[in-house]
């Protein structure tokens, strides 16, 4: 086992071998369920109004990974999603672009061709998404294919079975190898927190992914319930903050699945702001994995600017 970057000695030691890794992960402070849920609910009562709301809406739009991950996806569907990503609200050219379009590997080329020169990233899920149940060779091939097709971001899934049975070394090695296979592409590591269940596990998996070199830690595939929740995201934000305190490096967080309204998105931004810190209020360090969220953000944006509600017929369905 080898740490992918130069780490402070305490963290480098953690990745020396399987038993060191286990000791490190189990030595992390526990997460108290009642406490973290109370804190998340408390921050959820922040009242974000007027200019700060408009700013939050534009920020949230610029953080969206506009996603379609369905068996029924077609090239046409992906093209219309790419068009939406470029101009989320056709009537309002001042609306920011989204951060990325997120698709399955076989749709990457279609998305990439449509997004050339826009600055919008193409993210691809990989590694036998969503279950991660396949061999390492296939997961690597899946990743390489996505990158060859033009993905600049890869959303991998961890092997939850290995994690839950305590084979942390295996999960670590998989992330390290996938990261290698990504080349210059950014790696988001999906923990699938709905299957890890406890907050202690979420914290351990977060640190495992950070140690192995993940650029982002991501809550969920969107295929398992519960997907992203506020308290889980709190735990992950705390992990990237602690990571920065210890290494000086900034890593990102991406909640995905179940965030559908502007109100929800703003609660997440408040958490980013107050748990991780201001510097994470940036599409390079925080993303929303979402599809329906974007239109609600657009409707709320119109409401803020026009002073009245419009309706779902005034935003495009793609």
């Amino acid at each position: 086992m080898a740490a992918p970057t130069t780490l402070p000695s305490a963290l480098a030691d953690a990745t020396r071998d399987e038993s060191s890794l286990r000791r490190f992960l189990h030595g992390l402070p526990g997460v108290d369920q009642v406490g973290v849920e109370q804190r998340a609910a408390g921050l959820g009562t922040r009242s974000i109004k007027k200019a700060s709301k408009l700013h939050a809406i534009d920020l949230a739009i610029s953080m969206v990974d506009l996603t379609t991950l369905e068996g029924a996806d077609t090239h046409g569907k992906v093209r219309s999603l790419a068009a939406k990503a470029r101009r989320p609200d056709p009537d309002r050219p001042d609306v920011p672009q989204v951060a990325a379009v997120c698709v399955y590997p076989d749709m990457v080329k279609t998305a990439a061709d449509d997004l050339v020169g826009t600055g919008i990233n193409v993210a691809s899920v990989a590694t036998a998404f969503p279950s991660g149940r396949s061999t390492m060779d296939i997961k690597l091939a899946d990743t390489r294919f996505a990158v060859e097709q033009g993905a600049s971001e890869v959303d991998m899934v961890i092997d939850r079975g290995a994690f839950l049975s305590g084979r942390y070394g295996q999960v670590f090695e998989e992330i390290v190898k996938i990261k290698e296979a990504c080349g210059d592409a950014h790696l988001k590591v999906i923990l699938e927190t709905g299957e890890l269940v406890t907050y202690d596990n979420v914290r351990r998996a977060s640190w495992l992914a950070l140690l192995a070199g993940g650029d982002f830690i991501k809550t969920s595939t969107g295929k398992v319930q519960p997907a992203a929740t506020l308290p889980v995201t709190h735990v992950m934000l705390q992990a990237v903050r602690d990571w920065k305190d210890q290494t000086g490096e900034l890593r990102g967080v991406k909640p995905a699945g179940g965030i559908r309204t502007t109100k929800d998105a703003i609660k997440y931004l408040v958490a980013v702001h107050e748990v991780a810190g201001r510097e994470w209020l940036d599409p390079h360090l925080f993303r929303f994995g979402a599809s329906t969220l974007l239109n609600d953000l657009l409707m709320q944006r119109r409401t803020q600017l026009d002073g009245h509600y419009s309706g779902p017929d005034y935003v495009t369905v793609d």
Partner: protein, 475 residues
């Protein structure tokens, strides 16, 4: 940069009136004492003029309470009393926003606390005790426990409405009548509660509310026809009352000061411990008798914890109590602010290391930035005396035994907090804490079903729960 725009709750909701009268024998009447002016501590503006009781008004109120006790309330079946108490609880909920805004205006506490804690908990005390009114025979005090008579109650300014609820609800449920004196600086919500009581058609004289300063309180607790005295406030005044009542047959409960230890072990859930520490000392500007004002942290994690704590405290938003995003509001009075300043100065003079949040403070009003003292020793005043403000003293310990010794090394004994993931240690510690309330892996949680009260100079008697009924029954 993302700044939160101001999000103030409208002060019109408070229905603020220029004048408030005292409530005696079911009517709002002018007192014959010198009227007092109550101010908004966040702006120093006068909110309203409030009439106060003179000694003869106290006598009138006690007589009204006696008459209501003898003729109506003590004879009424518990199931009937319960209906009135339920009605009060529901009315508090109905008028929750009004009460919350008024409380924040008069007291200075942030609206998110008055809205999410004070008012709902006040309603829940009435709901809870209404349930007891017809079941007192099952409370463990005999088959048909009798009430005491007239209760004289004196409450503090830190939770004006909530303390009124803590006092009035059990008294009424047990069949007593009440004369209550709210604090001089925060009389308004108690008088709105009086209005609610009037709207609920409670028989005249069952509850009387008489504003005034300490002399009114002294006249009330000293009145010969009062059977029961309940006081929440400072230890100094509590001692005077106890002396005053010695040799009388009045029943007494006192809920006084505190200097609680919040004890964090090295295996604690650190991030949540930080939240608990913040909640423990900065909730309600630290104006909490059970505040976790002494942090005892195991030496092996002290630096890490302190770093996290400073970062977290820096995010606290201090300012306009009516702003929904304010975490720490105004100090209740200039007098209290002066006391906090004086004690923090002593901390610096005695050699503790002061860290104060760099948060901006409003130009007007009484505000004090959240402050953490580290390197504190048991000998310093900031470790021994109750500051009653947003000031935390951090001490360290090495072993569980040392933690117990330091935590208990105080004349007070109201509350304690224990932070560890080890269940057996929680129980071991809780058994050894000389404190009436012990929280583990949380802090400042209040519930009407849980008895609350202290040891030693923190007072005696319990409020809330089955145990709390004893204070209002002849047992």
């Amino acid at each position: 940069m993302w700044e939160y725009a101001p999000a103030p709750e409208s002060r019109d909701i408070a229905n603020l009136k220029p004048n408030y009268k005292m409530f005696v024998d079911g009517e709002f009447v002018e007192g014959t004492g010198e009227p007092l002016k109550t101010i908004n501590p966040a702006t120093e503006e006068v909110l309203a003029e409030v009439s106060t009781a003179s000694e003869s008004d106290v006598d009138t109120a006690v007589k009204a309470a006696r008459k209501a006790y003898d003729r109506v309330w003590s004879k009424m079946p518990g199931s009937e009393r319960a209906k009135y108490i339920y009605r009060i609880a529901r009315q508090i909920q109905e008028r929750g926003r009004e009460l919350a805004v008024l409380e924040s205006l008069d007291n200075g506490k942030p609206i998110k606390e008055s809205r999410d804690t004070d008012v709902p908990t006040a309603a829940s005390h009435f709901f809870y005790h209404a349930g007891w009114a017809d079941k007192l025979g099952y409370a463990g005090y005999g088959p048909d426990p009798r009430p005491l008579g007239v209760a004289g109650q004196v409450i503090p300014w830190n939770f004006p409405l909530l303390m009124a609820a803590w006092k009035i609800a059990p008294a009424l449920a047990c069949g007593n009548t009440v004369v209550l004196k709210p604090a001089e600086t925060t009389p308004l919500t108690a008088l709105v509660l009086a209005d609610i009581i009037q709207q609920c058609d409670l028989p005249p004289g069952v509850v009387n509310i008489i504003p005034g300063a300490g002399d009114v309180g002294a006249a009330l607790v000293g009145h010969a026809d009062v059977n029961k005295v309940a006081f929440t406030g400072s230890t100094d005044v509590g001692k005077v009352i106890q002396g005053q009542l010695a040799g009388t047959n009045k029943k007494l409960t006192l809920e006084l000061g505190g200097k609680a230890a919040n004890i964090v072990f090295d295996d604690a859930p650190l991030d949540q411990a930080v939240e608990g520490i913040v909640n423990g000392i900065f909730f309600n500007q630290g104006h909490v008798c059970c505040a976790g004002s002494r942090l005892l942290v195991q030496e092996s994690i002290a630096d890490e914890l302190l770093e996290k704590l400073h970062a977290r405290v820096s995010t606290l938003r201090v300012g306009d109590p009516l702003d929904k995003n304010t975490d720490v509001g105004a100090i209740n009075s200039r007098e209290q602010l002066t006391k906090i300043q004086e004690l923090t100065a002593s901390g610096e003079a005695e050699g503790a290391t002061r860290w104060t949040s760099s948060c901006p403070l409003p130009d007007k009003g009484f505000f004090f930035a959240p402050t953490v003292f580290s390197g504190v020793s048991q000998a310093m005043r900031i470790a021994r005396e109750e500051i009653f403000g947003p000031v935390l003293s951090v001490l360290t310990f090495r072993t569980p035994e040392e933690a117990v010794a330091k935590a208990n090394n105080t004349p007070y004994g109201l509350s304690a907090g224990i932070w560890t993931e080890k269940g057996s240690r929680i129980l071991w510690m809780a058994q050894r804490m000389r404190a009436g309330v012990v929280w583990s892996n949380t802090f400042n949680r209040f519930d009407p079903t849980a008895p609350f009260g202290g040891y030693q100079e923190s007072g005696f008697g319990r409020e809330g729960g089955r145990t709390g009924l004893e204070a209002y029954l002849d047992v």
